[in-house]
C-alpha cells in the first residue's frame, strides 16, 4: 500500500466550500471540483493515495473517485509537466492551420501529443478538441489561458516567455 496522503487543512477548507454548494446529504457532488483543487496543489496530477484520502474525506468509495478522475480529461492520474498546453485541432481550427501549429510545437518541444517534456516544464495535452474559441482560430490554451489567432512566430514568443 502506498503511503497515506494527508489533505492539508487549507485544501480541506476549499473542499468544504465546494461541498456547501450541494445538499448536505450528498457526498459525491464535490468529487470533481475537489480533484481539480487537489491536482492544482500537486503539480497537476492526482495519485492513488490522494484519491484514497479524498474518498475517505468525502465518505465515498475509492472507486467512485477513480471513475470520475478517469472520465474527465482535465484530471490527470499520471505525472505531467508544469505548464499544460492544449492546442485545439478540431475543424474550425484545422481550417485555419492548427495542424501546422501542433506540428511546430511538437517539434519545438520534442514531444508528441499526450507527452511531457523531459524537464517537466511542458505537458502537451492530448486534449486537442474544440475549446470554444472557434472564431479565434487557430488557438491554444496554456494553463487555461487562451491564445488566439495564432501564427507560428507568436507561438514561439509565447512559449519562450513561459517559465
Amino acid at each position: 500500500m502506498t503511503n497515506k496522503y494527508t489533505i492539508p487543512i487549507a485544501i480541506k477548507n476549499e473542499i468544504d466550500h465546494v461541498r456547501a454548494k450541494f445538499p448536505s446529504n450528498e457526498n459525491k457532488p464535490a468529487i470533481i471540483e475537489s480533484l481539480l483543487i487537489l491536482q492544482h496543489h500537486n503539480d497537476g496530477f492526482v495519485t492513488d493515495s490522494i484519491m484514497r484520502s479524498l474518498a475517505e474525506y468525502l465518505s465515498v468509495s475509492e472507486i467512485d473517485v477513480l471513475e470520475v478522475a478517469t472520465f474527465y480529461t482535465m484530471i490527470n492520474t499520471e505525472p505531467v509537466g508544469r505548464n499544460v498546453i492544449s492546442i485545439c485541432n478540431n475543424v474550425s481550427c484545422m481550417l485555419r492551420g492548427s495542424d501546422d501549429i501542433l506540428k511546430h510545437v511538437e517539434k519545438k518541444l520534442c514531444v508528441k501529443v499526450g507527452q511531457s517534456t523531459t524537464d517537466k516544464k511542458f505537458f502537451l495535452k492530448d486534449e486537442i478538441e474544440c475549446l470554444a474559441a472557434c472564431n479565434g482560430a487557430p488557438m491554444m490554451q496554456i494553463n487555461h489561458k487562451n491564445y488566439e489567432n495564432l501564427t507560428l512566430d507568436e507561438v514561439d514568443d509565447i512559449l519562450d516567455k513561459i517559465k
Binding site: 470533481i32 481539480l36 465515498v60
Partner: protein, 422 residues
C-alpha cells in the same frame, strides 16, 4: 433590424460590470417580478408567448419546457448549461465574460418561474480561468447587492446561485449527463423518460437551459412578448447568436434576427477568406449535416430554412469552408471528435464511433476501398437512432451528409489515394 440581446454590453468599456448592465436596463425585470410578486404562471406564459426557443441545440420552446415542472411545492432546481463544447460554437463563453449579469438575471427569473430555490451554472472545465472568474465576480456583486441570495431585496424570495466547473468532457453538455456530472459522477446521459422536469438533479424536478437562452430571458421580460416574437420569421421567432468560423475574413459572434439570409451573415463575417469560393457550410455545430456552399447561399438563418436543406440550425456554430478544403480530412476530424467524446455506455456509439474514425483515417492514409464508403454509410445508419443520447446521431449525421454531398471527392480519394483539392 439591429436588435441586440445577449451581446448588448459587448462593446462597452467594462462589459461585465454591474453598472454597464444596469445602464441597459439590467435587473429591472427581476426587481419588478419580486416586488410585484408576479405569478409564476404568468412568467411562464410570457416566455411561451415570446416564442423563445432553446439556444443549446435542439431549439425546444423554452416556455413550454418550463411548464412541464410539477406545480407542487417541493425542491426544484435550475441548471444553466455553460458547457459549450460543440465544435464551431463559442458564443456562451462571450456572454459569460462580457455579459454575465444577464445570465444571473435570467437564472433568477427562470428559478422563480419554476419555483427553484437553488440554481447552478455549470461551466466547462476549460473556462476555469477567464469565464469562471468573471462570472463568479459578477455573482459576488449580485450577492452583495442582494439581488441573489436570502430574502432578496426584502421580498422574502430566496434563490441561491452557484457556479460549478466541469473537468473536460463534451458529453456533459447533454442535459442529463450534466445532471450526472453535477451529482459527482461520470457524465453519462440518462435514459428518458423520466425527463429532468419530472425527475432531474438529485431526483428532483429540474430545468436545464442553455446560457444564451437564459441570458435572453431578462430582456424579453422587460419588453412585451410580442416584441421578441416580432423579430424573426415564422416559427423561428426572435434572435440568435451565430458563431462564424473557418475560412472567413472576420469570423466572430454575430447576434442577428432569425431568418436573416446566410449571405448577410457571410457579409458580416467579412466574406470568404481571401475572396475564395464558398464550398460548404456546417450551419449549426459540427454534429449537423453539411450543406453545399451554393445551397447555403439560398438559405436563411432560421430553423425551417436550414432544415429544408436537410440540416439543422443546432447551436449556431457556422463553420465555413472554401474551395481548398479537403472534405475527407474534415470528416475524419469530426469523427475523431465524437470518438474521443463518446461516454462509452451505448454499444453502437462506443464501438461505432471508433470504427468510423479508424476507417476514415485509413482512407486518409490511402488504404481505403470503395466498399469502405458503403460500410461507412451502413455503420452510421446502425448508430443513428439507437443510442441513449444524441451523440450517436451527432456522429452519424456528418458521415452520411458528407458522403451524400461530396461522394465524388471520397471516391477520388480512395481511387487516387490523395485529396482532390491538393
Amino acid at each position: 433590424m439591429n436588435v441586440k440581446i445577449c451581446t448588448e454590453t459587448f462593446e462597452s468599456n467594462k462589459p461585465a460590470s454591474l453598472a454597464t448592465y444596469l445602464k441597459y436596463g439590467g435587473y429591472e425585470a427581476w426587481k419588478k417580478i419580486i416586488t410585484e410578486k408576479t405569478p409564476k404562471s404568468s412568467i411562464v406564459e410570457k416566455i411561451k408567448n415570446s416564442g423563445l426557443r432553446g439556444k443549446g441545440g435542439a431549439g425546444f420552446l423554452t416556455g413550454l419546457k418550463w411548464s412541464f415542472i410539477p406545480l407542487e411545492n417541493k425542491q426544484k432546481y435550475l441548471v444553466c448549461n455553460s458547457d459549450e463544447s460543440e465544435p464551431g460554437t463559442c458564443k456562451d463563453r462571450d456572454i459569460l465574460r462580457y455579459n454575465p449579469h444577464s445570465i444571473i438575471e435570467g437564472m433568477l427569473i427562470a428559478s422563480y418561474a419554476i419555483g427553484a430555490s437553488v440554481a447552478y451554472n455549470y461551466l466547462r472545465g476549460e473556462f476555469i480561468d477567464e469565464q469562471k472568474r468573471v462570472f463568479d465576480e459578477a455573482l459576488k456583486i449580485a450577492y452583495q447587492e442582494n439581488l441573489v441570495g436570502k430574502d432578496i431585496l426584502s421580498s422574502s424570495v430566496s434563490i441561491d446561485i452557484y457556479s460549478l466547473i466541469g473537468a473536460g468532457a463534451y458529453i456533459v453538455g447533454e442535459e442529463t449527463a450534466m445532471l450526472e456530472s453535477i451529482e459527482g459522477k461520470r457524465g453519462m446521459p440518462r435514459i428518458k423518460p423520466p425527463f429532468p422536469a419530472i425527475k432531474g438533479l438529485f431526483g428532483k424536478p429540474t430545468i436545464i437551459n442553455n446560457t444564451e437562452t437564459l441570458a435572453s430571458v431578462p430582456k424579453i421580460m422587460r419588453n412585451e412578448p410580442d416584441w421578441y416574437k416580432n423579430i424573426g420569421i415564422g416559427d423561428s421567432e426572435g434572435i440568435k447568436m451565430f458563431c462564424t468560423s473557418g475560412h472567413l475574413e472576420k469570423p466572430g459572434n454575430y447576434e442577428i434576427p432569425l431568418g436573416t439570409p446566410f449571405r448577410d451573415l457571410l457579409e458580416l463575417s467579412g466574406g470568404v477568406l481571401n475572396k475564395g469560393e464558398l464550398k460548404a457550410v456546417i450551419p449549426g455545430g459540427s454534429s449537423v449535416p453539411v450543406v453545399k456552399g451554393e445551397t447555403m447561399l439560398q438559405l436563411n438563418m432560421d430553423y425551417e430554412s436550414i432544415s429544408s436543406a436537410g440540416s439543422m440550425l443546432g447551436s449556431g456554430g457556422v463553420i465555413v469552408m472554401d474551395h481548398t478544403t479537403c472534405m475527407v480530412s474534415v470528416l475524419q476530424r469530426i469523427s475523431r471528435f465524437y470518438y474521443a467524446e463518446s461516454c462509452g455506455q451505448c454499444t453502437p456509439c462506443r464501438e461505432g464511433t471508433g470504427w468510423l474514425y479508424k476507417m476514415l483515417t485509413n482512407i486518409l492514409e490511402g488504404k481505403g476501398t470503395i466498399s469502405d464508403l458503403d460500410t461507412l454509410n451502413r455503420i452510421a445508419s446502425q448508430i443513428e437512432g439507437h443510442c441513449i443520447c444524441a451523440l450517436g446521431d451527432a456522429a452519424a449525421m456528418p458521415v452520411r451528409s458528407f458522403l451524400k454531398n461530396f461522394w465524388h471527392e471520397f471516391e477520388y480519394y480512395v481511387d487516387k489515394k490523395q485529396s482532390m483539392v491538393s
